[in-house]
């Protein structure tokens, strides 16, 4: 229905905005950002990847690979996702994480659709791109678990990454169905009970690519902020893996605050080709649902 579609659009667009905004300050510390920008809150490109303003990175691009695979196949296709990842990697993307590269390479050379378990796979690369899988599975919890973990294991196979994906997916489902922040907070408290590592009170300000740091930062700023902008600005000004913390915060805050919550100036600044594709693919994802 319209409400769901609107939140889904906001989630996908919010993710791309978080990616483009955070990419400028990726790898900077909170202090460095403070000195260089004061409070950083405009989409200006640059950063270590020397991006054009509004340009997105691997976070959004890999998510689109998943989305396209689903809409092309008219359903879930892990093989399709892997092929899209491979084509994307060969297209010389602006960036690709080390763990993602390893997994995609294993697929390209050996057709593997799952990497062996590894403790070094607790990066945020699988969580950052899972939105299309969550949209396609909505509102089914079982399918959600199945799909987010399957797509994750293409590159990341670790209990922490799996837990992050499943819980992030369920939070997205709750937000899409209009749940209150308290409802979302209770869900997160379940997660931190089962996985104390993800606890973010007290918040230690760690925002690295380690999925635990990433989610702590996203949760801290998402529950602290009182608007889409506040949540996202707080998150990216933490620095570290800012494009990915930004992308994840953006998809969650987007689903929660809806299209009305997203600042128009950011939507205008976003790569318009990417925006057009997001708008085109989101309703298709929802329609394709089993």
């Amino acid at each position: 229905n319209d409400e769901i579609l609107s939140r889904a659009r906001a989630s996908f667009i919010g993710m791309a905005i978080g990616d483009a905004l955070g990419a400028t300050v990726e790898f900077l510390t909170a202090t460095e950002i403070q000195h260089k920008f004061g409070t950083f809150k405009e989409i200006v490109g640059g950063g270590w990847l020397r991006l054009k303003p509004g340009q997105v990175t691997d976070d959004t691009q890999m998510a689109l690979c998943i989305a396209r695979a689903i809409t092309t196949a008219g359903g879930w296709s892990l093989e399709g996702i892997a092929q899209n990842f491979a084509a994307w990697l060969q297209s010389r993307p602006v960036d690709c994480g080390d763990t993602c590269r390893k997994g995609i390479r294993a697929y390209m050379l050996h057709g593997h659709l799952e990497v062996p378990p590894s403790k070094w796979d607790a990066g945020n690369g699988a969580a950052m791109r899972l939105l299309p899988a969550a949209l396609y599975a909505f509102p089914d919890k079982e399918l959600l678990s199945k799909y987010v973990v399957e797509q994750a294991h293409l590159t990341h196979n670790s209990p922490l990454s799996d837990a992050a994906c499943i819980n992030l997916g369920e939070l997205l489902h709750l937000a899409l169905s209009g749940a209150s922040k308290n409802r979302l907070r209770r869900r997160v408290d379940n997660l931190t009970e089962e996985f104390p590592a993800f606890s973010f009170t007290p918040y230690h300000g760690l925002a690295s690519g380690y999925v635990v740091d990433t989610l702590q930062t996203v949760f801290h700023w998402f529950f602290k902020g009182r608007s889409f902008e506040e949540c996202l600005v707080g998150t990216v000004n933490q620095g570290g893996d800012a494009d990915t913390t930004g992308a994840i915060c953006g998809m969650l805050a987007g689903a929660y605050y809806g299209m009305e919550g997203i600042p128009a100036r950011w939507i205008k600044k976003l790569d318009q080709k990417v925006l057009a594709e997001l708008e085109q693919v989101t309703p298709l994802l929802l329609k394709a649902r089993p």
């Binding site: 990697l89 060969q90 010389r92 690709c96 080390d98 763990t99 590269r101 390893k102 995609i104 390479r105 390209m108 050379l109 050996h110 590894s118 070094w120």
Partner: protein, 112 residues
């Protein structure tokens, strides 16, 4: 793991690099070297004067590779670096006991 060392003709570098990128290999360390081999000296124009040099500029590529990728990497370099004419170069496979990614401390194949 192995350290694959390839000595190739300089003009082939971009092509070899691109071919390696196609199979997902990105990390390469390159140095400019001089080669002495069967390919004998050529004449070079330098400051207007022609003179014979018996070394040929080459490119050396070093690629740390997990064992299961070595054959693919060697094959890729062979196919792209080859012209069939003297001086195409060499590929050397050296055992690599350990690798470390300085940024993260990752070791072994996670480091490369």
């Amino acid at each position: 793991m192995k350290l694959v060392e390839a000595i190739i003709k300089p003009f082939k570098m971009d092509e070899v690099k691109d071919a390696l990128n196609e199979i997902g290999i990105e990390g390469i360390t390159v140095s400019e070297v001089k080669g002495f081999g069967r390919q004998k000296g050529h004449t070079e124009l330098y400051r207007g004067a022609e003179y014979v040099v018996d070394f040929i500029p080459k490119i050396k590529m070093e690629i740390a590779v997990p064992d299961e990728l070595v054959n693919k990497v060697v094959e890729t370099i062979e196919n792209t670096a080859k012209t069939g004419r003297i001086g195409d170069g060499k590929i050397f496979i050296i055992p690599l006991e350990e690798a470390v990614r300085i940024r993260t401390g990752e070791k072994g194949t996670d480091a490369i």
